[in-house]
Each structure stands twice: as structure tokens, then as C-alpha cells.
């Protein structure tokens, strides 16, 4: 019901923690390594190890895990759907339930739980970056990491700016989507009734106003940015110049230890 009432992905969670204080470039790269580590986990034990590390990282970031899970919001559905598909399409081992073409088997359940957990951990790992890093910092990291490619003609600064603004507006669009949803429900739309019948029309009733609003925002925002002398990346300074500190060393060490441990854990026989 309450779309937009909860914290969502991309929303920064202000806190005073080791992870928050890390250099965004380091966090950006390390979150890639962290996701790789989750992918490396091929056994339940290894996945459990990866999960322990991620829980530990959330502890270090002082973000309540429940909040982080809540922040995943609709993406949880993605996890559930993936799991469901695995239940239905992976066959083998003992069969628990069979009805027509639907067959739920031991392997299917196992695979669903495993893939579901893995996807869930991946999402948690990803949102650790956005929860602990402001959009401008993510932008800056992205931009700096791309900077060497600017000579090859990649518009690094522009890409960074686009990313930053997209992230800044994400929570706002979720709020607006919530209002549009409630307004259309007030006009008798039943999004819960039958998602297959008239689904397109329901989607239009939500998405068209949202896009219209995005265009409106874009128009004034660009004027407002110009009015504040925005003229691309040339000669811009930054309020917080990025600097690597001991925290980034510690963070790198922790994530590398995680990667090594997860890989090693793959060899522990179940």
C-alpha cells in the first residue's frame, strides 16, 4: 500500500561510522569486489561466510540490518520471483509435490534457497554503498575513476553528474509515485485486483504522471543549475577533496579477507 513510505535504495543513511568515512572511490571498487566475493560462494557454507562478513560490514557502518532489508523494498520481489522460478524449473532429487506440469523437487528447493540467498546478499552488498555514501560522493568516485578515460573522449564528468542527479531524485520520485498511486486508487484503480487484466492501463496511470513530473523537474533543474554558474567540469573545485586514509586500507583488507575466506570456504565439504 504505502509506496514511498519507507527508505529506499539510493537513499543515504547519515551516520558517523568507519564505512561512511571511507573514500568513495575505495568503497565503489570494494563493493564490486564484495559482489564478486558473493558470486564466488558456490556452497551454502561459503555463502554463510559471505553473509557473516556482510552482517559485519553493516555493523561497522552502524546501519540496522532490518532497515537495510526494508530499504530493498520492491527488489525483494525480484529475489522471491527468482527463487520461485528456480523451484519450478530446477528438477532432481526427491519430488515433494507434483500437479500437472508443476513439480517441486528437492533440488529445486535447494537451488531456490541458494540462489535467492545469493541474490539477496548481492543486493545487500550493493545497498551498503548507497546507504553509506552520499550521491555526490558516489558521483565524484565514479567521475574520478572514469577520469583517465576522459582523454579517450568519455564524458566522465557529465556521466557523473547525471548519476548524481538521478540518485538525488530517486527518493523524490518514490514519494511522488506514492502520491500518484494513492490518487489513482482514490479514483477507483485497483492495483491489487487482477494484475494481468488491464495491467497496461494501470501502469500508464502511474508511469505517465511520473514521467511528466520528471520532465518538469528536468526543465527547471537545468535552468537552476545554469543560474548557479554550472558549465561542466572545467575549473570546478570540490567541497570535500577525496583523500585515501587508513580506513580505506582497513576496508580493503577486510574485503580481501572476505574474498579469500569465501573462496576457501568453498572447499569445506558439506
Amino acid at each position: 500500500m504505502a509506496v514511498g513510505d519507507r527508505a529506499i535504495i539510493g537513499q543515504y543513511w547519515p551516520e558517523d561510522s568507519l564505512v561512511h568515512a571511507m573514500d568513495p572511490r575505495a568503497k565503489f571498487l570494494l563493493s564490486l569486489v564484495l559482489m564478486a566475493a558473493v558470486f564466488c560462494a558456490a556452497t551454502p557454507v561459503a555463502l554463510a561466510v559471505a553473509a557473516l562478513f556482510i552482517v559485519g560490514f553493516y555493523g561497522a557502518a552502524r546501519i540496522p540490518l532490518l532497515q537495510a532489508v526494508g530499504a530493498l523494498g520492491p527488489l525483494i520481489i525480484l529475489v522471491l520471483v527468482t527463487a520461485l522460478l528456480n523451484v519450478l524449473f530446477v528438477q532432481g532429487g526427491q519430488v515433494y509435490f507434483e500437479w500437472g506440469i508443476i513439480c517441486i523437487s528437492e533440488k529445486g528447493i535447494q537451488s531456490a534457497v541458494f540462489i535467492g540467498c545469493r541474490l539477496f546478499l548481492l543486493l545487500l552488498g550493493m545497498s551498503l554503498l548507497t546507504l553509506t555514501t552520499t550521491t555526490l560522493d558516489i558521483t565524484a568516485a565514479f567521475e574520478r575513476l572514469l577520469a583517465p578515460t576522459a582523454r579517450l573522449g568519455v564524458p566522465a564528468h557529465e556521466l557523473g553528474m547525471i548519476l548524481g542527479i538521478a540518485l538525488r531524485f530517486l527518493p523524490q520520485f518514490m514519494t511522488e509515485l506514492g502520491v500518484i498511486y494513492r490518487a489513482q486508487v482514490s479514483r477507483g484503480a485497483r492495483f491489487d485486483a487482477n494484475p494481468f487484466k488491464g495491467g497496461m492501463r494501470m501502469l500508464t496511470a502511474l508511469m505517465v504522471p511520473l514521467f511528466a513530473s520528471a520532465f518538469r523537474h528536468a526543465e527547471t533543474l537545468s535552468a537552476a543549475m545554469e543560474a548557479r554558474c554550472y558549465h561542466g567540469g572545467d575549473g570546478r573545485t570540490r567541497l570535500d577533496p577525496l583523500r585515501l586514509t587508513w580506513r580505506d586500507g582497513a576496508g580493503t583488507a577486510a574485503v580481501l579477507v572476505m574474498l579469500a575466506t569465501v573462496i576457501a570456504a568453498n572447499f569445506i565439504p558439506v
Binding site: 538525488r168 537552476a224 554558474c229 575549473g235
Partner: protein, 310 residues
Amino acid sequence: MTQRSENAPEAAVIAEAAEATEVVAAAVPGEAAAPDTFVDFRDAAFTYDGERFVFRDLNLTVPQGQFLCLLGGNGSGKSTLAKHINALLVPDEGAVEVFGCDTRDAESTYFIRSNAGLVFQNPDDQIVASLIENDVAFGPENLGVPNPELRERVTRALAEVGLQGFEKHETNALSGGQKQRVAIAGVLAMDPAILILDEATAMLDPRGRAGLLRVVRELHAAGMTVVMITHYMEEAAQAERVVVLDGGRVVLDGAPEDVLVRADELRALSLEVPFACRLSLALRAAGVPVAPCIADDDLKEELCALRSSR
């Protein structure tokens, strides 16, 4: 509150601006405008589509230090005018000079923009960053202001709008009034000499409006030139000068106590009339000899004086 410079704007940091400052010095003595004229519209005309003129033959000057309020119905050209002061738009005919620089001169664009800060109507459409400090720093970052000074400017600008200590707060969690104050801080951090508010209070609740107006008045008291566009008469009543636009022309121009009492003309332009004025007119119609006025307190005093004289 820091005392703002009483002189023409200081040189901004970027290279173009430095050149532009020299243009100011060279331009001022020879031009018709007095040296303390900050904004000068001379027979300016502007059209978006090449056919319909938003304004034509517009003449308007704003001297340094003035608190000017612009009124006008929808389509009167107020917002377009505001964008001309900031060089976001340039006139098709005639000229607009800001600090003595022609806004069409590309070299002075950033000099003008950094010195004529523009705040828009919708707070959500002008905040670029998720954290207050990053948003306030956006303008000076674009100007290339180096770091110790950049940080000082952010701190000072936030103090000027009464948000000191809120650097690390999220912009998304703020009320409309707070967002607008952040937007003003973002403009102040560029160290402007003029503050232009384009219906900046229109989407705020009464509390947010009152807070914003207080900030603007304080800035003006400290020397800031203010151009404020609004629908609200109680805001216009606080200005030093009120200019009413209609169809791109200045139709009324004067002190608020002279302009805002012209009830018939204001209503014809679909503008409101301040309560004290409405009441004083109703009183006159009922045979009470009071002068039309715009402040409740003045009217009250007058009525009390009448009462004791009888």
C-alpha cells in the same frame, strides 16, 4: 549576520569573471546608468517564439541596495524578467545591463550569474545534492572557489539563512520552507550582490513563508539588493518599492503605501489588495474618514485617533 559589501560586487574567482570585472570598471563612467545602478532594462524586448513578445520597450532600473517587489498576474512577464537579470535569458531588442555589463556579452555571463543569485519557485527543482552542504557548495564549486574559502562560504551562507550546523543533513527530509532556505544559501555562497526570488514563497505554507521573508529582510538590512516576485501582498508591503507589470509593461511603480492602495487598478490586474486597504475602503464607503493604507497598525491608529477625537 555578516555585513555585506557596500560596493559593486567583488571579483569572482574564475578567469572569465576577472575579465568581466574590468569591463565593469571601464563601462560604468561612460554609460548613462548611474554607477550605483545594478540592473538596467533599456527598451528591452523579449519573445520566446519570435511572434508574441513577453515584454517590449521595458524600462526598469534597480539601484544598489533596494528591496524591490515585482507584482503581476500570470503571463505578465515577471519570471521572464527575473531570468534576464541572471543572464539566463537575453533580450531580443534593447539592452539589459547588470552591474554595467551587457547580459548579451558572453564574457560576463558567469560574472553576472554569480553576482545575481536567482531562487526559483519549486524547492525540489533547484536542489542538486543529497546533503545540504554539497548543495550549498554547488555554486562556488562551479566558480572554482578553492577549499578553505569554499568551506567558509558554506558555513557562512547557512548561518545567514538560519541553518547553521545543518551541513550534514539530507535535503530530501526538509520541509518546503527549509528547502527554500537551502536554495537561498546555495545562492548566497556565490557571494552575490543581488538576490532574485522568483515566486520563491508560492509553494510554502504560512510558516515557511514568514521564515523565508524574515531571512530576506535580514539580508536586505545587511546591504543586499533584493528583487522579489510574489503574489502575496503582505510580502509586497515589506518592500521599499513595488513595481506592477502587466502584459510586459510597468504599469505601477512606487512605494508600497502608494501602489498597494490603488485597489481598482490592482483588481483589474487580477491582483489582491492588502486587507488594511480593503477595510479602509469599506470604511470610507461607510462614511468613516480614513486614508487608504496598507498596514493594519496604521489603520488601527487612525481609527483610535478618530475615536478619541469624538
